[in-house]
Point group: C2
Chain length 238, copies 2
DNA sequence: CGAAAACTGTGTCCGATGGACACTGATGAT
DNA sequence: ATCATCAGTGTCCATCGGACACAGTTTTCG
């Protein structure tokens, strides 16, 4: 109804009526989004500002406002650009477990390649077509199981929450070389001084510093979730 | 090592050596944190700025910098203040399932009361003593199960990820009255126009608009997780 | 063919943000 | 009594997102 809201929807969902008169646009939504993604990939979402993105494209900050209503919408475009095409349906129709596992792994890879997606997707926002396609794929994998629609949505939220949690943890551990010393070292120092107050935590961390890393953590939670879902599905079927 | 990092640790973990000479401080870390929490609770984390918090306490913005190195540290204090005391150990020592379920519910309540905690706890940061105590409680519940330390950590990440996911979803749905129309209505409109491209999603959403709400969604995922953990624990024991 | 309309990109301005720094006072140890 | 120490203030700055008016360019219509 409100044209501001509908403009926001149209930006992500189209249509994009191309103007007939006037000079041809020198930029495009795609180029702008890509520039933003590039900055966010290398310097984080905090480094993405209007002037920064415009500068990357050798344009003025205000030029961008001809294409994008505001920064929130720019970030939305960046999310759609970074999330990429949803993975195609894999495996047979009945193998919901394999499909969901594969889906979660691919989602984890996307988050790993664009860690700022975590920051960009907190809070209420409007999903784009690609994001909805991702959701569609996961939900379609649960077709044929006896789960209700609400349960399928809940299972999806559960999966996404887990992947996000793993990525957040892996980002805190600092795979990008040096940040490791900025958060893991102070925490290790803390455990050395206050560790006595957290016996279970110290015990768990002592044996948690294993190889395998976050892929193992992702698979651990994933297997628990899929086991739990499997139990429910089997119960519904039997 | 760096005094900037150690100052950040000392802010959350103490000690706070009180100065002998000079005028007595008119403010305190606690009052500052509480003021910030109050603002964030009513207007969101975005409304929290140095001047805003200072104004709430009838002080100048720069006064706060006598107590807090910067805004990031202020937010860290707010998180510690809002997260509250960790729940005491409940139930018997062996009832890991009941304990974890209770723990997750209490964590969900904290997030529900302070939705901005979602925004404030993205990205790498230094945990405070209360936050670590929360973690300690959950890990302690898994004592006696045959899980390794790494597995217990993974289980914790899994639980937290789920609770966060549920809170994020419930915030998007908009429990606070009017925001519902700003994100659910456009999405419903989208499903009406583009719904044909997302058959599984439309089917799931159609039956998902049930009563029960997010408590049900929280319990659904929680039960799946606990079922999955139970299967692993039983396997290790047997 | 010429004029008007529509559109693009730019320059300038604004309020608010986080933060640096020098300064004035107040206080307590010596 | 003196003086180092510390609290709160005032001023200044770069940067942020964004509003607005303007000049230049291109297409359509009279």
């Amino acid at each position: 109804m409100s044209d501001e809201a509908s403009a926001r929807v149209r930006l992500l969902w189209g249509p994009h009526p191309k103007p007939s008169r006037g000079p041809k646009p020198a930029l495009s939504l795609d180029r702008i989004a890509q520039a933003g993604v590039g900055i966010a990939d290398t310097e984080g979402l905090g480094a993405v500002s209007m002037q920064r993105v415009a500068g990357q494209l050798d344009f003025t900050k205000m030029s961008l406002y001809r294409y994008v209503p505001g920064k929130a919408e720019l970030v939305a475009l960046m999310v759609e650009a970074a999330i990429g095409e949803a993975p195609p349906r894999t495996g047979a129709g009945g193998d919901w477990r394999g499909q969901l596992g594969d889906w979660a792994h691919r989602l984890g890879e996307v988050f790993a390649q664009h860690p700022w997606l975590l920051d960009a997707t907190v809070g209420p926002r409007l999903p784009g077509p690609r994001e909805l396609t991702w959701m569609e794929r996961a939900l379609a994998a649960l077709d044929g199981t006896g789960l209700t629609g609400a349960e399928r949505m809940d299972a999806l939220v559960l999966l996404v929450g887990h992947v996000r949690g793993i990525v957040a943890q892996s980002r805190a551990a600092g795979p990008a070389g040096e940040p490791e010393a900025r958060f893991l070292a102070p925490l290790a120092e803390l455990m050395r001084t206050h560790g006595a107050d957290y016996p279970a935590l110290t015990a768990a961390m002592a044996s948690a510093a294993q190889p395998g890393g976050h892929d193992r953590a992702l698979d651990f939670g994933l297997n628990r979730i899929l086991d739990g879902l499997g139990a429910l599905i089997a119960q519904r079927a039997g």
